[in-house]
């Protein structure tokens, strides 16, 4: 049994609202860069950057960070596929908005903070997630949340974006087991 959490229209409005919240919190658009976490955060980061550009009236750079080498469970599961990190701008002194699709244990966000550290020292890092599904294992919280969804550990949150060949929905799926 799958249930629809966000349909296409609501997903678009949710991302737009998140962009406005980011702009409200960060008055100076020139400082802001948006960085998507591989792989679920990449397209969301681009969408947020495009929205922010409209709000600020100036370009907002979007980047990508891969956290595979900074995970804390590398010897407990099959080695993850490495993906590119693309940060074609200076992080020093910037306000980084880190973007992921789903916030769960918080371990990916922690790894992302470590990975960013290799590239410079942002003046602040904020976390934006489309879905916060709970079950945190680390003291990490999101600054901007699209939707809070109470879940059980056996469920899966599936974010399907058009850029990835999907249909712009978020669904909650029961495990097949």
């Amino acid at each position: 049994m799958n249930s629809l959490l966000l349909d296409s229209t609501t997903l678009g409005r949710t991302v737009a609202r998140m962009a406005h919240e980011i702009a409200e919190r960060n008055q100076n658009g020139a400082d802001v860069v948006v960085i998507g976490i591989q792989s679920g955060g990449v397209f969301l980061a681009r969408r947020l950057a495009a929205q922010l550009q409209g709000i600020y009236g100036q370009p907002v750079p979007a980047g990508i960070v891969d956290v595979s080498l900074h995970r804390d469970d590398l010897d407990q599961r099959s080695a993850p596929m490495l993906r590119p990190t693309e940060l074609p701008f200076d992080l020093n002194g910037r306000t980084v908005v880190l973007v992921d699709d789903v916030l769960y244990s918080g371990r990916t966000a922690r790894a992302a903070l470590d990975a960013l550290h290799d590239f410079g020292r942002p003046s602040r890092v904020q976390l934006a997630v489309l879905v916060d599904r709970g079950h945190r294992e680390l003291p990490i919280r999101a600054d901007f949340v699209g939707k809070n969804v109470p879940t059980s550990r056996t469920q899966r949150v599936e974010v399907s974006l058009a850029e990835d060949g999907g249909n712009n929905t978020v669904t909650l799926q029961e495990s097949k087991a």
Binding site: H70, D73, L74, D75, Q76, R77, P80, L82, V102
Partner: protein
């Protein structure tokens, strides 16, 4: 594709998918090596032992740097200054290293099959860094990586391996990776070092003793070092005669396609199997092979470090 092997013992056993996963992973590590900050915490807290029972400089340094770049602690253990000299068995040596919580043993050994032997009882990950005349998997991988990077794909490519094939673990590892990924391999050299029976390994392997024929349509020419140390009997009259008959010199370079890659695993015997002008020429990718070796070894350590494919939930 999930990686499920604990050890890297040879390339003969690897599927095309496994080889491709290593090469793809290595491609990322190569680009990471171009960052100002080149060190990553993937193997933080792990111990890598370089157990080199047979001497080697470049492979050991490459593995050491690969491990250090991934934040592992590295112990170098060479036969000359070790308990092996005092008569300790290889098995006891490794048991002792494991008692010190070694997580990886990188083994270079003169006996073919030594890493396979270790893998039967070792708790640590075993990586074959060259065993006798059997295999040198990471060299085969870095050669394949270099070819794929330069030529785009291995499929249908004609690769000539020239020189001492019989005693060459480099040749054997190259052969397995190349044919698995769809290349056609030509083996060339003196008949004593390139027996016709090598063709029985795979339908895509061809043996020729005619140098011009081997060079003429090759997309890649991989030149092997003459391994004086591994030949129990003399397989050719003299080094001078080998150079005269099979050395790659400017005259013979005219047989080689202008876009063919010239490769050599090193160390080079300049003036024997290859002349200096060619080793340093614009078709040579010999130093890029060294750079790529680091990326490939990082990929191997990273993949082997992964746990078995027990799914761990969580993002």
């Amino acid at each position: 594709m999930k990686w499920n092997r604990r050890h890297l013992l040879d390339l003969q056993a690897l599927s095309a998918e496994e080889l491709t996963l290593i090469l793809d992973t290595a491609r990322h590590f190569k680009s990471l090596g171009e960052r100002p900050k080149k060190k990553f915490p993937a193997l933080l807290g792990k111990t890598v032992v370089n157990l080199f029972v047979e001497p080697s400089t470049r492979t050991r340094i490459s593995f050491e740097l690969a491990a250090v770049r991934l934040s592992a602690d590295v112990i170098n253990f060479t036969a000359e200054a070790s308990s092996l000299k005092k008569g300790e068995t290889l098995k006891d040596t490794v048991r002792n290293l494991e008692a010190l919580q070694a997580d990886f043993v990188i083994l270079r050994h003169s006996a073919s099959g030594a890493p396979h032997f270790l893998s039967r009882f070792a708790k640590a990950h075993v990586v074959n860094a060259g065993d006798g005349a059997h295999e040198h998997p990471t060299q085969g991988l870095l050669d394949t990586f270099t070819i794929r990077e330069k030529k785009g794909s291995l499929a249908g490519l004609k690769v000539t391996i020239l020189g001492d094939i019989l005693y060459s673990r480099v040749a054997r590892s190259n052969i397995w990776a190349l044919v698995r990924l769809g290349a056609k391999v030509t083996l060339c050299g003196p008949p004593t070092l390139v027996p016709r029976q090598l063709e029985s390994l795979d339908p895509n392997i061809r043996v020729t003793w005619d140098l011009e024929e081997a060079l003429r349509d090759a997309d890649v020419v991989n030149i092997l070092r003459i391994q004086h140390e591994r030949q129990r009997v003399t397989m050719f009259p003299s080094v001078g005669e080998y150079a005269a008959l099979f050395g790659l010199n400017p005259t013979r370079m005219r047989w080689v396609k202008p876009n063919a890659l010239i490769m050599h695993p090193g160390p080079i015997n300049r003036g024997v199997e290859i002349e200096s002008d060619i080793a340093d020429g614009n078709q040579s990718v010999i130093l890029e092979q060294v750079t790529n070796g680091l990326a490939v070894r990082m990929a191997v350590l990273f993949l082997l470090n992964g746990g078995r494919s027990s799914e761990v939930a969580g993002t």
